[in-house]
Amino acid sequence: MTVTDLCTPLSHEVLFLRAGDRVTLSGMVYTARDEAHIRMQEKGIPFDPCGAVVYHCGPVIRDGRIIAAGPTTSARLNALTGFLLDNGVKGLIGKGGMSRQVVDQLRNRGVYLAFTGGCAALAAARMKLRGGFYEDLGMAEAVWAIELDHLPLVVAIDASGNDLFEGVARNAQQQFKKRFRERKEVVD
């Protein structure tokens, strides 16, 4: 499988990515969890949102260095993501996928990129801390400007409404029903 190298700020190129594509991402991204999303909604986005990428992550930072920075569960931000996309954000990075509402909000605008859960050391090795906003929210909840160097990601939700997680969940449901129904019939 080919790997597409992407750089921020993202352009309309992301509209051509397909769910299941592997990419690497370089350039500036901005971390944000629950508190940061709420603050940005109230007080404004502290970075240029045009083509920007938001990373769902609460890093461990010590002495201006990133020690560990794996992804957090994106679903917590389902209801807080629309305004970012309305303002021009074109990429989200996280783990576990997002709701149908966000899948629809991403249509013709941007993509959701999955990063491997727990890979905090790998992530930190490919990141440089470049600045921070809203640091009063605390280390995990602040908005950190981080420069990425070829972070390996998978397009999990594309700009055409395709969602890898949804397909997998549907299939798992079918397999479960099939396996345990068949088993019962054998017993009968």
């Binding site: 299941g20 461990v60 569960t73 727990g118 390996p152 997998v168 798992a172």
Partner: protein, 278 residues
């Protein structure tokens, strides 16, 4: 009998606790690394293979940089093995607590422990009945650390089955992963406690995670096959390997009950044992 208040002994217990936590956070045990490598070779989905490649690269990076594998460094679950000549006193527990505080500061660990209702962070990963300390009798004094992250722990389940529902156990375990999907960071390891009491089955399920995963009984393999048939795959992106292993532990139970607990563990099955130098 050795005096449990001997400051040198207490300090050695603190040191061993800190060291066990540090080792667990940075290096995965060889049986777990072997199972992840094996999964990488057997996985049929190309996307999932990419995820497993990331996990293997991450393990090497954590080792090279001497940093925690995952930013969720968990809550400290500790198994203390105590030899016959040492009385179990509060001093031993306080020595373990001190080891947790030192590890939090020096590894460093993310301060994850909060008070459950006020959500106030204790800042040093200790608190009321935390670390969670389990004492077992043994020959040598040792500390085993099993730091447990929240993503997988939150997907764990317990169910009081009827004694006639023994055949429903594989279904209950598979259903646990069906509900969890990609949330517990698969490929997972499932600790299954069968029997005992309501709380005892949960403790058994957690203890099962201490057992090496490079061997499984036919029953454990049967449950594993049921889980893997769901196709959830690494990180819920789809694939043939959703769980690396299922480990079962059993205990005697009431003739009218059949408690079953499933403790979900992400791929980072962090555990390390350090003997206390006496």
């Amino acid at each position: 009998m050795i005096s449990p208040t001997d400051p040198a002994l207490l300090s050695a217990i603190s040191k061993a606790t800190c060291e066990a936590l540090k080792q667990a956070e940075i290096f995965l045990p060889p049986d777990v690394v072997g199972a992840i490598r094996n999964a990488r070779d057997c996985e049929t989905s190309e996307i999932a293979r990419g995820e497993l490649d990331n996990i293997l690269a991450n393990l090497k990076m954590a080792e090279d940089l001497s940093v925690p594998i995952c930013q969720d460094t968990g809550v400290p679950v500790i198994y203390l093995t105590v030899p016959p000549d040492l009385p179990v006193t509060n001093d031993l527990f306080e020595a373990v607590n001190q080891g947790v505080r030192t590890a939090t500061d020096t590894v460093p660990l993310r301060p994850n422990v909060v008070l459950p209702l006020s959500r106030e962070n204790t800042r040093d990963n200790t608190g009321p009945r935390m670390p969670d300390i389990h004492v077992r009798p043994g020959e040598k004094l040792s500390v085993t650390a099993l730091p447990k992250g929240a993503g997988a722990e939150n997907m764990s389940r317990i169910h009081m089955l009827l004694p006639s529902e023994k055949d429903q156990i594989p279904k209950f375990v598979a259903e646990t992963m069906l509900l969890a999907g990609g949330k517990p960071c698969p490929p997972v390891i499932l600790g299954v406690g069968i029997g005992g009491t309501f709380d005892g089955s949960a403790a058994l399920a957690k203890e099962a995670l201490l057992d090496p995963i490079d061997e499984m009984t036919p029953y454990e393999r049967e449950i594993l096959a049921a889980v893997n048939s769901l196709g959830i795959g690494s990180m819920g992106l789809g694939g043939s390997i959703t769980a690396l292993a299922v480990k079962v532990k059993t205990a005697g139970c009431h003739t009218a009950s059949l408690p079953v607990a499933v403790n979900v563990q992400c791929w980072a099955c962090r555990r390390a044992t350090v003997e206390v130098c006496r």
